[in-house]
């Protein structure tokens, strides 16, 4: 009967070895309550004990396979229970796994080992193991009825559960208290046999009800499957097939138990298929929304294993040819492992993602494709926002980048973040190499999507960084263009003013002087000679005024002295000032624009010092410092100068900025004024 009992145990899925590690991660990520983890742990401990106790006493194939399958089913159950604690399916999986591990495998091996070693309590273990397959069977009936949402497909299906329970109540005493079950014990005798009970009859009736309920519960799954559509159908497909097979296989096994030796293979296959089907539904078709995180732990575990194998193999091969214990062998093996690490890890991550995270894998692939397109110049970095929207399925997702100068968050078009910021939305800060790059506003609800978003941002960091640089560049360009437009406008305005001053001032005056001269000519010719003198005097007054006006106009134009260089121009400025000016200037020539700017800085500084600061002495200097021309105007006046908008000082600031330089005004009240301009002048 050991075989039949085993058949009721859980069997393994192919990913078994990874489950515990994955589980550890899942505990952290999914905020597992302690219970599913505890159940899983107990199952594992029980199976380890069972394997150790039963080693060499039963077939090794059986020992390992049943341990494996119980642990896998416990893992799947723990995942489901942690994620959906209100759904009984997870708990059923956990409970069934633990029950069969503890009362099936562990108890049986204890019984066998105790009998072999002469330890006490062996018979109790054997009795528990012999009986445990029946409650396990009820567990499967309930699982079939409630899978996958934890609800019966219809009220009347409750009858099936009751029938199974009644069958269990009858079959358990009919089986466990029967003298006929002696063959299941090492001693050949059932220690709890009760001769007085009609055990055979109880077992027959109970078993009939029980098997009927099993088949009916499998049928309920079929009904559920027929009514399902879309994803749900895909999720159910495998499990329904396995359940249908299991109900037939388990019934057949029960009926033919004594008739056909080796029938246990059928039951074992059926339960293994059930475990596999459940795993496939969960892992592949995202049943229970468990997009299982086969994360770095798994990847690194696998990589470590492969590297260890590589190391061992390399050592072996080289050891054979070079002789064992050679330092070269160790070094070479280490080198191989070191070189293999990075590509191997990427490859394993890729395989793991493709295998277990279809959605995540595809999303990451899409991001990688985008980065490739970006490198090839087929995509613009700003499109990264669209890619993130597409891959997270969040059309309102917004990427903001941080401008380092202003510490402003702006979107990819350079528009500053809404003020006040939209507090309703989730924020995720984007960093790269420890520096803040920006942030993502999103509406992502589930933990999985958030993890996906994090991964996408991490791998798309390059695109985000480039997008940020683009935005920054565009803003700076706009700033430069605006400043240039201001300068051009100022230039145009200046020209217009100059033109008007010339036309309406000096030119008009010259015309009227000409007219006066003509008039005087006329007067000379018509004997009114005495009047002509007066006319000419008037004309002379006009001439003087015209000269004054022209002199005024000439102020603000680059003087002819600048043609000879900055030093003569500065000396000329100093001579014309009404206050003593000490001049220091290099003989060296600079770019005309730089010299012009330096001249105007000197001009404006002197004007300011004389007119506003009531200075009594001024120092005007220009000197080269590396690749900069530094112009300073220092006075001993009253200080307190400020570059008011539209003033000469403000105009200077723009002029200097246009050349890529900087202007500083240090003018505390009472402490004089120091004007410092730094102009880039090349080397």
């Amino acid at each position: 009967m050991e075989q039949q009992k085993r058949a009721s145990q859980l069997s393994a899925s192919t990913i078994g070895r990874a489950v515990r590690r994955r589980q550890t991660e899942a505990v952290r990520r999914l905020h597992l309550t302690l219970a599913p983890g505890l159940l899983l742990g107990l199952t594992v401990v029980s199976e380890v004990a069972a394997v150790l106790l039963g080693w060499n006493l039963t077939s090794r194939f059986n020992t390992v396979m049943y341990a494996f399958s119980a642990v896998v089913m416990a893992g799947a159950g723990a995942l489901i229970a942690a994620r959906h604690p209100r759904n009984p399916i997870g708990w059923l999986f956990c409970g069934n796994a633990l029950f069969s591990a503890l009362l099936g495998d562990a108890a049986l091996r204890w019984g066998l080992r105790a009998a072999a070693e002469g330890w006490p309590g062996g018979a109790v273990g054997e009795w528990l193991a012999t009986t445990s397959w029946l409650p396990n069977g009820l567990g499967w009936i309930l699982t079939f009825l409630l899978f996958p949402d934890g609800h019966l497909p219809g009220r009347r299906w409750g009858m099936v559960a009751w029938a199974g329970a009644l069958g269990l109540v009858l079959a358990v005493p009919g089986w466990s208290l029967s003298p006929g079950a002696g063959s299941e014990f090492v001693s050949g005798r059932n220690p709890l046999a009760v001769e007085a009970l009609p055990t055979d009859a109880l077992f027959s009736v109970g078993m009939t009800l029980f098997l009927g309920a099993l088949v009916a519960s499998a049928a309920s799954l079929m009904v559920r499957f027929r009514q399902s559509t879309g994803d749900e159908r895909q999720q159910l497909k495998w499990f329904v097939a396995a359940a249908a097979f299991a109900s037939v296989a388990l019934s057949t096994t029960a009926v033919l138990w004594y008739v056909t030796p080796g029938i246990e293979v059928l039951a074992a296959t059926a339960v293994t298929a059930l475990s596999l089907a459940a795993s496939v539904a969960i892992l592949r078709y995202r049943l229970y929304d468990i997009d299982v995180i086969v994360d770095r732990t798994v990847v690194y575990g696998t990589v470590t294993g492969l590297l260890a194998a590589t190391y061992g193999l390399t050592t072996l091969i080289l050891g054979t040819s070079l002789g064992a214990g050679s330092g070269w062998v160790t070094a070479a093996a280490t080198l191989v492992v070191a070189v293999a690490f990075r590509p191997l890890r990427d490859r394993v991550q890729d395989v793991v993602d493709r295998r277990f995270h279809r959605a995540r894998y595809q999303a990451m692939r899409r991001m990688a494709d985008f980065l490739e397109a970006l490198r090839a110049g087929r995509a613009a970095p700003e499109e990264v926002q669209g890619v993130l929207r597409e891959l997270t399925g969040d059309p309102r997702l917004e990427l903001l980048v941080l401008l380092p100068e202003s510490q402003l968050y702006v979107d990819v078009n350079g528009v500053p973040e809404a003020d006040p910021p939209d507090g309703q939305r989730e924020r995720l800060d984007v960093e790269r190499a420890g520096r803040p790059l920006g942030r993502v506003l999103h509406d992502t609800a589930t933990q999985e999507d958030l993890i996906l978003l994090r991964s996408l941002i991490e791998s798309g960091g390059l695109a985000i960084e480039i997008a940020r640089l683009h935005v920054e560049l565009r803003r700076q360009l706009a700033e430069v263009q605006a400043s240039r437009a201001r300068i051009v406008n100022a230039g145009t305005e200046e020209r217009r003013r100059l033109e008007r001053d010339l036309h309406d001032g000096a030119q008009q005056r010259l015309v009227s002087i000409g007219l006066a001269l003509r008039h005087a000519q006329h007067q000379l010719g018509t004997s009114k000679v005495e009047y002509a003198t007066r006319t000419l005097d008037e004309a002379m007054v006009e001439v003087k005024m015209a000269i004054d006006e022209l002199r005024e106009l000439a102020r603000g134009l680059p003087p002819a002295q600048l043609d000879a260089g900055l030093a003569p121009a500065f000396l000329d400025l100093a001579r014309r000032a009404s206050v003593p000016v000490e001049v220091t200037a290099p003989r060296e020539r600079f770019d005309r624009g730089i010299e012009g700017a330096a001249y105007f800085i000197g001009c404006e500084g002197l004007t300011n010092a004389v007119k506003h600061a009531q200075a009594t002495s001024i120092s005007l200097s220009a000197r080269r410092e590396d690749d900069r021309l530094v112009v300073t105007v220092i006075d001993d006046g009253i200080g307190g100068a400020e570059p008011a908008p539209g003033s000469g000082l403000s105009g200077l600031t723009d002029r200097v900025a246009a050349l890529g330089g900087a202007l500083r005004i240090d003018s505390r009240p009472g402490a004089g004024t120091t004007l410092t301009a730094e102009l880039p002048c090349g080397s």
């Binding site: 008007r500 309406d504 008009q508 005056r509 015309v511 009227s512 000409g514 007219l515 008039h519 006009e542």
Partner: protein, 215 residues
């Protein structure tokens, strides 16, 4: 000749007044802005109005607008616009009108030329500054008949447009009147215009063509 002067610069206004007075004309009104011009013209009934193009309050085209208004009210009135510099934006539609002149202020210093130009305008003739004509002639497209003129013909056209008669042109260019007549005939043919013995009408036709095809 009865003259009204509108000029905001006092000295120039006085100078112009003396110039016309010295030339034997009556200055019947002198104004500092364009606003009072129509009234002054109605009351004094002058033969000629001399107006500065830039006057208060905006110093842009007050004179030109006043000139346009006066020509609409009194088509026979001679209007001479003076300016410190040449721009045709505000005056292009006035140029082909009979009795309209447009001169740079500097021209007043050539007293005799200026006075004869003023008299010509008062008689319904034309007096355009060479700069104005040059502006009209510049920037012509290659399919424009004006582009097909020879240099000499262009010079003659320019002088015609300034308001000179064949005799005047011949004197200015030191050529015989017969030669000038031949040039005029040729250029009018090239411009597809009827020959006319009337100098005024001839000039106006040329000006109409030039301002209509102004690029």
């Amino acid at each position: 000749m009865r003259v009204v002067i509108a000029e905001d610069q006092v000295l120039l206004r006085a100078g112009l007044g003396r110039l016309f007075a010295d030339g034997g004309h009556d200055v019947v009104a002198s104004l500092g802005d364009a606003d009072a011009l129509p009234a002054a013209v109605s009351t004094t009934n002058p033969d000629l109005v001399v107006v500065d193009i830039r006057m208060p309050p905006t110093f842009t085209d007050e004179g030109a607008r006043a000139a346009r208004e006066l020509k609409q009210l009194h088509p026979k009135l001679g209007v001479l616009v003076l300016s410190q510099h040449i721009e045709t934006t505000h005056t292009i539609d006035l140029i082909p009108l009979a009795g309209f002149g447009y001169l740079l202020k500097d021209r007043v210093l050539e007293v005799d030329d200026f006075l004869s130009a003023a008299e010509r305008v008062a008689r319904g003739g034309s007096a355009l500054d060479p700069h104005v004509v040059a502006t009209l002639l510049s920037g012509r497209r290659s399919d424009d008949p004006l582009a097909a003129l020879t240099d000499r013909e262009r010079t003659v056209l320019q002088l015609m447009a300034e308001g000179l008669t064949n005799t005047g042109i011949a004197k200015r260019l030191h050529l015989s009147e017969r030669t000038i007549e031949a040039h005029v005939r040729h250029l009018l043919t090239k411009l597809n215009m009827p020959e006319s013995e009337d100098d005024h009408r001839r000039v106006l036709a040329v000006l109409a063509h030039m301002s209509a095809t102004q690029p």
